[in-house]
């Protein structure tokens, strides 16, 4: 009688679904990395494209090689692997050898994602696992910031053969944070804002990052509480410490616009998988990142701490989730 002489399907309610899907969400964020990539290319030349491409290739390769047996969803198709690769690439310094970038992408997916069972199951931000591995493995290469050069001028180290460094030292500059920490010179705000400073590919232009972040927030691609909490916590704690010791501790505006803070707040702390789902958890998560960033930058050995702050808060996420579960309807007042 159904017209087709075969059996009816039996599915579970609801029979209607939102039009948003995970691959679409990923594509949206991928598109939002493009302005950042464009800015990186503007400031650092084609080498930016090469590095990001290498990292993405490493990530996609790992996804292809390891995800075949993942139980749910084809992670190659959903675009999250590409996004992870892009983000790894954007967090690397311009002069990094391409083989390292590719290795970073690979480690991000292999150790950061597939080890946990694939999309949505990872406990740490995969891109940052990849980068943290690189930073621990090749601290020299990851803290060497090539001096500005021509658009098509690619540093010798870029094409270093695997396992070789290809002469990384040589011409190097320092990031605004390192300049402040080790040389006590403060970079001008306009340079920080526009992005014309040394640093990782994607992190330099505060302007582009703010615009992209605003767009993603308005599109509800991420939980707005996380970036807002990060920025507020950084500004408050940073400001307070700055008042205590203005020479050693930089001011809040500098803290907000320098280093990877905005990039991390827009793209990486907001990775939904490794951040809390609960509203209160998200606020605490962001505030924790902000506080850790300030502590590491002001008192730590490293000039920059965004990556470590996010990873540490990733580790604390299950605990945060646990204590911030929403009170169900009708249970809010009485226990």
């Amino acid at each position: 009688m159904t017209g087709r002489g075969h059996r009816l399907d039996l599915q579970a309610a609801p029979f209607l679904h939102t039009t948003l899907s995970t691959p679409r969400l990923m594509v949206e964020v991928i598109l939002c990395t493009l302005p950042v990539l464009a800015a990186a290319t503007w400031f650092f030349g084609v080498v930016a494209l090469l590095v990001v491409a290498a990292a993405t290739a490493g990530a996609v390769f790992a996804e292809w090689a390891l995800a075949t047996r993942a139980p749910r969803g084809n992670t190659l198709r959903d675009g999250s692997g590409v996004l992870t690769g892009l983000l790894v690439g954007l967090t690397l310094p311009p002069a990094i050898p391409l083989w390292m970038a590719a290795l970073g992408g690979f480690v991000a997916i292999a150790l950061g994602k597939q080890l946990f069972g694939g999309l949505g199951q990872n406990l740490f931000n995969p891109a940052l696992v990849g980068r943290a591995f690189l930073q621990a493995a090749f601290p020299g290469a990851l803290t060497t910031w090539g001096a500005p050069r021509g658009f098509l001028d690619v540093p010798a180290s870029t094409f270093a053969l695997p396992f070789l460094h290809g002469g990384l030292d040589g011409m190097s500059t320092a990031t605004p944070l390192a300049l402040h920490k080790f040389e006590h010179t403060t970079t001008g705000l306009w340079a920080l804002f526009s992005g014309d400073v040394a640093g990782s590919l994607g992190e330099t232009s505060a302007l582009v990052l703010l615009l992209v972040g605003l767009w993603l927030g308005l599109r509800r691609a991420f939980d707005w509480r996380i970036p807002v909490a990060i920025l507020v916590a950084t500004a408050l704690l940073g400001g307070a410490l700055h008042l205590l010791d203005p020479v050693r501790n930089p001011g809040p505006l500098f803290l907000l616009t320098s280093g990877g803070l905005l990039f991390g707040a827009v793209f990486m702390a907001t990775d939904p998988v490794s951040s809390p789902t609960t509203p209160r958890g998200a606020l605490a998560f962001g505030a924790g990142i902000g506080a850790l960033v300030v502590v590491i930058r002001d008192y730590g050995g490293l000039p920059e701490g965004v990556m470590y702050a996010i990873l540490l808060m990733n580790a604390a996420t299950p605990l945060l989730e646990r204590v911030s579960q929403p009170r169900p309807f009708g249970r809010r007042r009485a226990a």
């Binding site: 087709r4 609801p14 789902t277």
Partner: protein
């Protein structure tokens, strides 16, 4: 006219497309009589006990089974005809359950043999409750909970508000909408009867603001000075869930595990009022109801007044049949209804809609890992954490599930609707709840 977002509502929830334009303007039509009717004995509460024998002749409206205990209702024959038997037949839930099977009398004019009409004002509380029970009246909002049970208020409890649920927040469904437009007077008549009996101070009718004609029709029937308020509400799912409705109307949360009565409310569906008016004023028990037949797979969508026990197959045939691409039939709304394994199942007292879907709507995108994006949290009007519940359910962590209040879930489906990863969250939750109830039952059996 207020702007939509300034209207009252509850927190969280989702906005599915309402798909009502196909039937909302269609006047209710009558389903012609067919030859065979199947009525499950359990239709709201405990199964009723047959009071007629195999082969016995019955009249339309005659009692055929009597309530068994308090949380149970009488069952009446929807037709003039003959009792074929009491075997098991397939229920919309897929199970084979004991039913009364009737053969319609092809020569009968099918006039209702009405019972005596009763003036409700002349009844005291218990007599009123007993009379409602005798009318076989259950809630027509979906759960088919015996109406009289709600009217028996424990001593010391005061009912402040009698609330009518005219939200009809489920997409596609328009049966309540048509009922409010076409039978506004009966809706209000029912409300006055119940409110009077309960001693409620006032009556509130919540209607989603996408039904302006229903609001107008109801308002037109309110007598001046009467404490009956019709409140347009935001269009948001699940606005019709009684706890959300109470929150929207009064800003009060019904405590978890408690009843509306605990905050001084009794809630009924608008259709239930019409059934009450029919029973008291015309002596007609609950033997038919309005069903919306809709969905992309139906050739002629309609609102149909259907005698209970009519098979879905006949109802669909009345609506021109289904398209060849139809691959899924749903009883109830698209958010909370359930898929039918077979269309050879009867229309029940609780059947508000029959929807036919084609592959285009039912093809589910592939499932992805939970992104922990929190969209399900923002959807859940119960303020649960559906993503956690789903993951725990998948892992079978029953103890943790209970600690996370899985039993508070009303299975509204908003979370599954909102999930970009296509995770069958409600189904997982339903599985967990079923397992927990089972375990509790087995545990209780042991000791």
């Amino acid at each position: 006219m207020k702007l939509p977002f300034t209207l009252r509502s509850f927190a969280h929830g989702v906005h599915p497309h309402d798909h009502k334009q196909g039937t909302e303007h269609l006047a209710t039509e009558h389903m012609p009589f067919v030859s065979r009717y199947v009525l499950p004995l359990a239709q709201g509460g405990k199964p009723a006990v047959p009071v007629v024998g195999r082969g016995e002749g019955v009249r339309r409206g005659q009692r055929i089974a009597a309530a068994d205990g308090f949380v149970s209702t009488d069952l009446h024959s929807p037709v003039d005809g003959q009792v074929l038997g009491f075997d098991r037949h397939r229920h919309p839930s897929g199970e084979l359950v004991p039913c009364v099977e009737l053969q319609a009398d092809p020569f009968s004019a099918q006039e209702v043999s009405a019972h005596a009409t009763v003036d409700p004002d002349g009844l005291d509380g218990d007599a009123f409750v007993a009379h409602v029970q005798r009318g076989g009246i259950v809630g027509l909002g979906g759960a088919a909970f015996p109406a009289h049970v709600k009217y028996k208020t424990p001593a010391g409890r005061v009912v402040e508000h009698f609330v009518l649920n005219g939200c009809e927040c489920e997409p596609y469904l328009t049966c309540d909408h048509r009922t409010m437009v076409e039978r506004a007077a009966d809706v209000l008549r029912g409300a006055r009867i119940v409110a009077g009996q309960l001693g409620a101070k006032d009556v509130h009718i919540g209607v989603e603001h996408n039904k302006p004609d229903a609001v107008a029709a109801l308002r037109a029937n309110v007598r001046p000075g009467e404490a009956i308020t019709i409140t347009p509400l935001q269009v948001k799912y699940p606005q019709g869930a009684e706890k959300m409705l109470i929150e929207a109307l009064f800003g009060v949360e019904v405590p978890a595990g408690k009843l509306p009565l605990d905050v001084g409310c009794v809630v009924n569906n608008v259709g239930t009022m019409v059934a009450l008016a029919d029973w008291f004023d015309r002596g007609v028990p609950l033997i038919e109801r309005v069903v919306t037949v809709s969905g992309p797979g139906v050739r002629r969508p309609a609102n149909v007044r259907v005698p209970l026990g009519t098979s879905v197959r006949e109802l669909l045939a009345h609506c021109g049949g289904t398209l060849p691409e139809t691959c899924e039939m749903v009883m109830g709304g698209p958010m909370m209804g359930s898929a039918l394994a077979s269309i050879d199942v009867p229309v029940l007292k609780g059947t508000s809609g029959v929807l036919a879907f084609t592959a285009a709507e039912t093809a589910r995108g592939s499932e992805y890992g939970c992104l922990k994006c929190g969209r399900c949290l923002d959807a859940c009007a119960n303020f649960l954490n559906p993503s956690v519940l789903a993951r725990l359910a998948r892992a079978g962590e029953m103890k943790t599930l209970e600690a996370n209040f899985v039993m508070d879930c009303m299975e509204c489906g908003a979370c599954s609707f909102a999930c970009p990863s296509n995770i069958p969250i409600v189904q997982l939750i339903r599985v967990a709840k079923s397992a927990i109830r089972d375990e509790r039952r087995k545990e209780a059996g042991k000791s």
